[in-house]
């Protein structure tokens, strides 16, 4: 038995019975990070002392008979979630040394559930990117082939989970930043419904699209993590005031009679043959399990990437105005305040962030607002209506996660548009505010993971987990490369 293959529910049982302590589990992961993260580069920083303190406190609570869903469980955090007293950089030089005076709501909830904070996971700067190559500090490697990227922007979270460097992790998803790296690294990653998880304390990129969600090696852990972080929060005005179901209760139910929508528009040019073949094989598995496949149409899919990059850059240019060298982070001195702003932002931001600030400022500027920003908002409505119509004929929609498997480090850096197009299957889900999950679907001929995406109606995460769990129990896909096992 390998600890890496146990679910959080199983680990909690062992912790309860004192077969293992949280201190032992935490040391196990910290040792694995020392041993393997030199080649994967998933963590920006480990927080060893903080982790051991949390582990000792968890063991005391366990000793007193306390029982919370994550008590004593070591997790990794994307470096964009404000954590009191812990440096939070967003992968950017402009926030180097920033120590938040408060906890994001998700961090507060994880603490209440008893988690252990192992460290901060790498990401594209301010979550802008699909490869982690935009991190100011390091490029994370794909654990299945370290000459390749892990996806992004939550590439550190995906690589850490796939390398067995934490039990589960949190990431964030604005246009696919959880599902795409989960797919490329062969683990589970869920973007919940917009508003299901509070964004308070998540450093904002594009506020109408950003959502926090879990990465895990099995569906049960995804359900556990979601159950802890979901729920209404008065600190986030877009938070949905709906009760959180017991997500574990959906696992183990069959999918007989479930209507699975297959969108015709997701068969795109440039899709790799192995990706297509694996997708078709996986649809057959769902059919064998009793699901009915239904053809659906999402006719505005081809406009989603353009719509997304107008909206997200516009929102980013506004959100990132706060980095002005006054309140926190870097300051470069200038002759007056405007000069200080410009020099600080020149030095502190990386290439992609500057590119998006310029694009976003342009599409919001006088004379172009209607042609770009307002137009994109209207097309966003059409994309939402596509999904509304499709969901009258089906219960879930199943698609590939990415048109290709992981690409080589450096391959797409000079060509931002090609990089943007790698998120074509994940972006429409954010625009429509829907929940989406990426689950391991198999491997290509090179041994690189291929993900399967399940999209649900708003707040239908339970049904998605139900289908994902059925799929997982039929097709066991390896989630950790053999050479990274002890």
């Amino acid at each position: 038995m390998d600890i890496l293959d146990l679910t959080i529910v199983q680990l909690r049982e062992m912790l309860r019975k004192k077969e293992v302590s949280s201190v032992e589990l935490t040391e196990y992961y910290l040792n694995r990070i020392k041993k393997y993260d030199g080649e994967v580069l998933a963590y920006l920083r480990t927080t060893e002392d903080y982790a051991m303190e949390m582990a000792r406190s968890a063991d005391e609570r366990i000793g007193r008979g306390e029982d919370t869903p994550l008590l004593g469980i070591p997790l990794g955090m994307k470096d964009i979630l404000c954590t009191k007293g812990i440096e939070t950089t967003c992968g950017s030089n402009i926030l180097k040394g920033f120590v938040p005076p408060y906890d994001a709501t998700v961090i507060r909830k994880l603490k209440e559930a008893g988690f252990v904070h192992l460290g901060r996971l790498n990401m594209d700067e301010f979550a802008m990117g699909s490869s982690t190559e935009n991190s100011a500090f390091q490029t994370t490697r794909n654990p299945w082939d370290t000459t390749r990227i892990p996806g992004g922007s939550s590439g550190g979270s995906a690589a850490a989970v796939a390398s067995g460097l934490c039990t589960s992790a949190l990431g964030t998803d604005t246009g696919g930043s959880i599902r795409q790296p989960a797919g490329l690294c062969g683990v589970i990653g869920m973007k919940p419904t917009y508003g299901r998880v509070s964004r308070y304390g998540l450093v904002a990129f594009a506020s109408s699209l950003d959502q926090i969600g879990p990465f895990s090696r099995n569906v049960s852990d995804c359900a556990t993590m979601l159950g802890v972080i979901a729920g209404y929060d008065p600190m986030d005005s877009t938070s949905i005031p709906e009760a959180v179901p017991d997500y574990q209760s959906f696992l183990g139910r069959d999918i007989k009679g479930l209507r699975v929508g297959i969108p015709a528009e997701y068969s795109v040019e440039g899709m790799e043959a192995d990706v297509k073949k694996t997708y078709e094989d996986n649809l057959q598995i769902l059919r064998d399990q009793g699901a009915t496949l239904v053809d659906v149409s999402l006719p505005h899919t081809q406009y989603a990437v353009a719509t997304y990059y107008i909206i997200c850059t516009a929102e980013a240019s506004s959100n990132l105005a706060r980095y002005d060298g006054v309140k926190y982070g870097l300051r470069e001195n200038g002759k007056d305040i405007i000069d200080m702003y410009k020099k600080t932002r020149f030095k502190g931001f990386g290439k992609e962030v500057k590119r998006r600030i310029i694009l976003g400022t342009y599409v919001l500027s006088s004379g172009y607002y209607d042609a770009y920003y307002r137009k994109a908002g209207k097309v966003r409505t059409l994309i939402r209506r596509d999904f509304d119509a499709a969901f009258t004929a089906c219960d879930l929609i199943v698609t590939p996660v990415s048109p290709t498997t992981a690409f080589k480090v450096g391959e797409r850096v000079a060509d931002p548009l090609t990089m943007y197009l790698s998120d074509i299957f994940t972006i429409p889900v954010n625009l429509a505010g829907l929940p989406g999950i990426s689950i391991p679907g198999g491997f290509d001929a090179k041994g690189l993971p291929i993900g399967l995406q399940i999209i649900g109606r708003p707040l239908d995460e339970g049904r998605m987990l139900q289908a994902a769990h059925v799929f997982e129990s039929v097709k066991r896909v390896e989630t950790v490369p053999g050479r990274l096992r002890d």
Binding site: Y309, Y328, G329, F346, K375, T381, L382, G433
Partner: protein, 97 residues
């Protein structure tokens, strides 16, 4: 070309960004091709369609106006790159002749 070096320089100024000449050249070409790609939206007739700003409709959220404990001045200014006590220190804003 939809945009020129001058447009990029002007927009960068609006976004309070200095750029070096190499970056201006690079961004001009890249942003031009991205904007051309974005122009594909013009193929769609969107007359009468209401724009979506948030996917999940939420109204204006109100709360009671009650005094609650919040961050101390020390916590609020603790990350400032330059400060005097609990005040942010900034370069001159008003020109002095």
């Amino acid at each position: 070309m939809k945009i020129t070096r001058e447009t990029v320089e002007y927009v960068a100024h609006l976004g309070r960004l200095d750029l070096d000449p190499r970056e201006i050249d690079e961004y001009t070409g890249q942003i031009d091709s991205i904007l051309q790609y974005m122009d594909s939206l013009n193929a769609l007739d969107t007359q009468g369609v209401e724009p979506t700003s948030h996917a999940v409709p939420v109204g204006c959220v109100m709360r009671e106006d009650v005094v609650k404990e919040s961050f101390t001045a020390e916590e609020s200014t603790g990350n400032a790159p330059e400060r005097i006590d609990t005040f942010f220190k900034v370069p001159p804003i008003i020109e002095v002749e």
